[in-house]
């Protein structure tokens, strides 16, 4: 079925006359190299296939299933006469990346080619050693003085400690992300000034006080075992060390000045890579009288419209766009207009396409939904204290206000609940977060008047706020995929000792960030130094299950997941007590629940298995205090999981085959664990891949795959959401903050959603995150043949005789 003996259709490329020696180049055109390339020094030379093959071949060591010749020929086929060698290098990288879908090892090859490319770019600027890279950054005004002197003083030790081979840990997608967005760039030429390893070492040095600490951190980063959050990776060691991920701002007071001040606060925080949560409970609703002008208010929507424009305008230093989530309690009279803000139909003046939305739901609302009772809506002006109350106090005040006839209108609670569900289904937004549990189970709310008013952009941070305290959190995540151990050649469990060590190093690093941090607005500094909260999370839970061949909803998986969170919490608390002994407790320790010996699982009514060690720890906490009021939060880890090459946080895989769109282009991800299983079974063929594509990355119809493996490789769409919620609740008892829990329903209806979120509330979750669903119509599969095509006689014959080169299955 090869067409290389027939004249090429446009006559541009004569076909290769010699017989094929390798089947993998089947169907590729192998052009005569009459083309020339322009070299970096300006001279030109003919394209030399062998030279390209050799260059690619050097990067193929240890990769059994990649073909250097194929990359070279395909690269040349995309080239034009007079292209530059730079273009040629880029093209070979892209070519390798394009083959990942066929063979996951090409992800490693593409990463190595890119690593070589980056190294050339840096070296051509006469930057060789780590200290030279820091010096260059400092000279150009990018690196701060503290880091420059630290590195200069320890240059020899640091330069020697760098391990260039660690670049090999990267998959292509991860390295590409690092190259495009994290490496320091020359302000004028835009060339990168550091290699990926120099970058990791820079971050490690910037976050350390001693060389020993720096090298410990560098080891964790470069082995991709633990990564701090993006703002830390973006800004550590630079002139503006804003290293925190999350900011939570209480609702502006109901005045013009404070509303406008909040725009500035949001913009300043956004500028330096922070994601923002902003409450709006206190701003009066539509139709409320404005005494000073004797006019009526238009409610919160126009203010949010302005916020929307402001958020869109602030581009986070060109690295990523600003992002903000607005929280509203469902008794606010503008709640229905709020729920429509993300609709894509209707009056654009009432639409905010850039804002995320979350409902901050009190238990009373859910109880009214359960009882199918009424729900009253209020103007915050008439009930100004509701945002500052939770639990019974809230319920008393709310019902008093109802009896006093203060409500603007009364609707069925289920009517509003259905609206919330519709918004979730239509936009994925309008996250359900639960006010009462968030407050009752927060270490910072021991004293009366301390209230959590909202969560953050990703619903994993739960901290108190007030008009003069904005909450801040620094995040980092442990890559569980790299904390497993093997026995007899198979992964059999999580290495809890190693996990404990990583937790302790990570907690010290996150604590240090609090003191190093540049605070863009004043009210964040005071609060952060008083409470010293950090958010240590995890990623790659799905990788652990794949490595151990556990179905996501298997009882063993659930137990393991709980144990992981318990261990992380235990070691995080331990590290914080040690830090308190060493450097002192955080100033507000006496005001926390921990000071009374109350820990997170107490608020959930859960007793840990190994109670003895917990009782010892509890006693140590009461005696010595803690350095941090909060320690654990599971962030979505979207970007850092891609750098680490693992699945995001606690999430099941979305598909065995999916693409990722990012600012640096689109990348294909294949489930490499599945590919390995299929290869072992001799099933990793073009035909199987086509079926996988047509099935949108599901293996449920791949009957060749044993049933137990089909269960392991189910996607988020195929796993019962009840099991995800159960797991989240299990782990909740060991999370003093919260978790970014996405839920997945392919084609949701109101009844499913109302039941699901009701269950999430009943199980005591503090927060949930996006509702993910799938489009109603699909794009035509541009590169997959309809299955019936194989009824072609010729194609059938071909595929039977020579499955690898059958074009009907390509």
């Amino acid at each position: 079925m090869h067409n290389d003996t027939s004249p090429n259709s446009n006559g541009a490329a004569p076909s290769r006359a010699t017989p094929r020696t390798t089947s993998s180049t089947a169907g590729e055109i192998y052009p005569q190299t009459t083309m020339r390339v322009t070299k970096r020094n300006g001279s030109s030379e003919p394209v030399d296939v062998n030279k390209i093959v050799r260059a690619v071949g050097r990067c193929c060591v240890g990769l059994s299933d990649v073909d250097a010749l194929r990359i070279a020929t395909k690269t040349i086929s995309g080239l034009y006469d007079g292209a530059t060698t730079r273009e040629l290098d880029q093209l070979s990288i892209q070519t390798a990346a394009g083959l990942i879908v066929e063979e996951p090892q090409y992800a490693r090859l593409a990463a190595r080619l890119l690593s070589t490319y980056i190294e050339k770019e840096v070296r051509n600027q006469e930057i060789h050693a780590f200290s030279q890279s820091i010096a260059a950054g400092h000279r150009l005004g990018l690196v701060n003085d503290r880091l420059q002197s630290f590195v200069a003083a320890n240059a020899r030790k640091l330069n020697d400690a760098l391990v260039p081979e660690r670049d090999r840990e990267f998959e292509y997608f991860g390295l590409r992300t690092v190259y495009d967005r994290y490496l320091l760039k020359h302000p004028a030429s835009r060339l990168v000034l550091e290699t990926p390893q120099q970058f990791f070492l820079r971050i490690a040095c910037a976050l350390s006080e001693t060389v020993q600490d720096a090298l410990g951190l560098y080891h964790l980063f470069s082995s991709l075992e633990y990564l701090p959050s993006s703002p830390t990776l973006f800004n550590a060691g630079t002139r503006h060390e804003q290293l925190s991920s999350c900011f939570l701002l209480d609702s502006p007071e109901d005045h013009l000045e404070t509303i406008y001040r909040s725009y500035t606060d949001v913009a300043m925080l956004s500028k330096f890579s922070g994601g923002i949560g902003l409450a709006y409970h206190r701003v009066r609703s539509r139709g409320s009288l404005i005494e000073s002008t004797n006019g009526y208010s238009n409610g919160i929507v126009p203010w949010l419209k302005t916020l929307d424009a402001s958020v869109a305008a602030v581009n986070q230093g060109g690295k990523r766009k600003g992002a903000c989530c607005v929280y509203l309690e469902p008794w606010h009279a503008d709640i229905e207009a709020f729920l429509e803000l993300r609709d894509n139909t209707g009056d654009e003046a009432s639409r905010t396409h850039n804002l995320n939305l979350a409902n901050w739901v009190p238990d009373l609302f859910m109880k009214r939904v359960e009882a199918d009772a009424n729900w009253s809506l209020f103007d915050p002006k008439t009930v100004p204290d509701l945002p500052d109350l939770y639990g019974e106090a809230f319920e008393r005040r709310y019902e008093e206000a109802e009896r006093a006839g203060l409500s603007l209108s009364t609707i069925k609670a289920r009517h509003l609940y259905a609206r919330m569900m519709r918004t979730l289904a239509q936009t994925g937004n309008g996250w359900m977060t639960f006010k009462d549990k968030s407050n009752r189970a927060c270490n910072q709310t021991a004293l009366p008047g301390r209230v959590v008013h909202l969560s953050n952009l990703c619903t994993e941070i739960i901290e108190v706020t007030s008009s003069d305290e904005a909450a801040v959190c620094n995040l980092g995540s442990i890559n569980l995929a790299r904390h497993t151990f093997q026995a007899e050649g198979r992964v059999v469990g999580v290495d809890f000792e190693k996990l404990g060590r990583t937790v302790r190093t990570a907690v010290r690093q996150l604590d240090r960030v609090i003191d190093l941090n540049y605070y863009p607005i004043a009210i964040t500094r005071g609060s952060n130094l008083r409470w010293r909260p950090i958010g240590l999370g995890l990623m790659g839970l799905q990788d652990v299950f794949f490595q151990m061949r556990l179905a996501f909803d298997a009882p063993e998986a659930r137990a393991l997941s709980k144990q992981i969170s318990e261990e992380i919490y235990f070691h995080a608390l331990t590290a914080s007590v040690e830090l308190a002994e060493e450097k002192g407790r955080h100033p507000a320790f006496e005001e926390t629940r921990a000071a009374r010996g109350e820990l997170q699982f107490d608020a959930w009514g859960v007793t840990p298995d190994d109670l003895g060690r917990w009782e010892l720890l509890r006693a140590r906490i009461v005696e010595h205090g803690m350095r941090n009021s909060l320690l654990c939060a599971i962030a979505p880890t979207a970007t850092i999981a891609s750098i680490a090459g693992c699945y995001e946080c606690i999430e099941p895989q979305v598909s065995n085959l999916f693409k990722r769109e990012t600012l640096s282009g689109d990348f294909l991800q294949v489930n490499r664990y599945l590919a390995r299983e299929l290869k072992a079974l001799g099933l990793w063929t073009e035909a199987i891949r086509s079926r996988l594509k047509l099935a949108e990355g599901s293996v449920q119809r791949l009957d060749e795959l044993p049933e137990e493996l089909r269960a392991v490789y189910r996607t988020a769409w195929e796993i019962p959401m009840r099991s995800l919620i159960d797991m989240a609740a299990d782990r909740g008892a060991f999370l003093d903050q919260s978790q970014s829990l996405n839920l997945f329903i392919e084609s949701p209806n109101i009844g499913q959603l109302s039941s699901m979120y009701f269950y999430a509330w009943k199980k005591g979750l503090k927060t949930t995150y996006y509702l993910r669903s799938r489009p109603a119509t699909r794009i035509a599969k541009a590169t997959v043949e309809e299955p019936k095509a194989t009824t072609d006689d010729a194609a059938v014959a071909c595929s039977l005789e020579n499955p690898e080169s059958c074009e009907a299955c390509q």
Binding site: S9, N10, A12, G27, I29, S77, G78, L79, Y80, D81, A83, Q90, Q94, A97, L99, G275, A312, R320, N344, T345, R351, H353, N356, M421, Q426, T427, A638, V654, S655, F658, K659, R660, E661, T662, G665, D666, L668, P720, P748, I750, G751, L753, S754, S755, F758, P775, A776, T777, R778, I779, A780, K781, A782, T783, V784, E785, E786, A789, E807, Q810
Partner: protein
Amino acid sequence: MSAAARPARLLDPGLCLTLRPMTYPKFFEMYRAAIKNTWTVEEVDFSTDVGDLKKKMNDAEKHLVQRLVAFFATGDSIVANNVVLNLYKHLNAPEARMYLSRQLYEEALHVQFYLTLLDTYVPDPEDRHRAFAAVENIPSIRKKAAFCMKWLDATRGLERLDARAERRAFLLNLICFAACIEGLFFFGAFAYVYFLRSRGLLHGLAAGTNWVFRDESAHMAFAFEVVKTVRREEPELFDDVLSSAVVAMIEEAIDCEMQFAEDLLGEGIAGMSTRDVRRYLEFCADQRLATLDLPRRYKTKNPFSFMDLQDVQEVTNFFERRASAYQVGVSGEVVLDAAF
């Protein structure tokens, strides 16, 4: 024929109004699915595109984008005209006409999208006008437009489809717009967009194109469903004469598209050669032929691995893009004990 009676066959002349019983529920389902995928131009974020054009793209790439925009500026309008002037008139089933009404709206939406794109990418009013005039002034675009107009005009005079030759002419028009114009010209244009995106360029264009691509795929599926229906009802129309006319038409379309490709890529773009474009078009053409139950002609492999990406569902990092996967229609009532 009475408007209350269902015609015997889809192409029988008339303006049938009866939806119950429904002869072609599949068309109605397609209509409903399309409604669920409503999107608006306002949702597309062009904010990084202008910067890409100014700072990241070389002259050859800018030329490619200008030509693409010029093609898009008029492409969807031509398709919309054909829906009104030919398809709506002759598909005598109200559920099919509902789908076409929806398609017409989507074509208008695409026109609006590409207009916004043009206004964003091309600041000078004179240049903007020139983009629309490309359909007459730029040979590579004129050639494609002439091809479309030829097929659009071929059936325009027909008020009724009575004779076999008239029905065949109509089928050719339908196949031309689905297989050649949507299935090759647009698919060709999408390839350039996704090529650029695979280099991390022009996210606004790619985001909107994602949605346009989804719509166009549905339009094609509808047209091919019509062809299938007619084949079932009137198999005698599908003879060798029709087959060879389809093949000739596809060859002509590829020639048109190749002239366009030579113009677009003339200045040299690393990663996209005219040679590969031809193979890609041949690959697409084979797929259209297969859908029409005709033998594959080229048996070419798809050379563009970045089009593989297009087949695979997207997972969007919300910091960076808005996901385009949400459904608009959702129904049901609050209950607390449904399975989930």
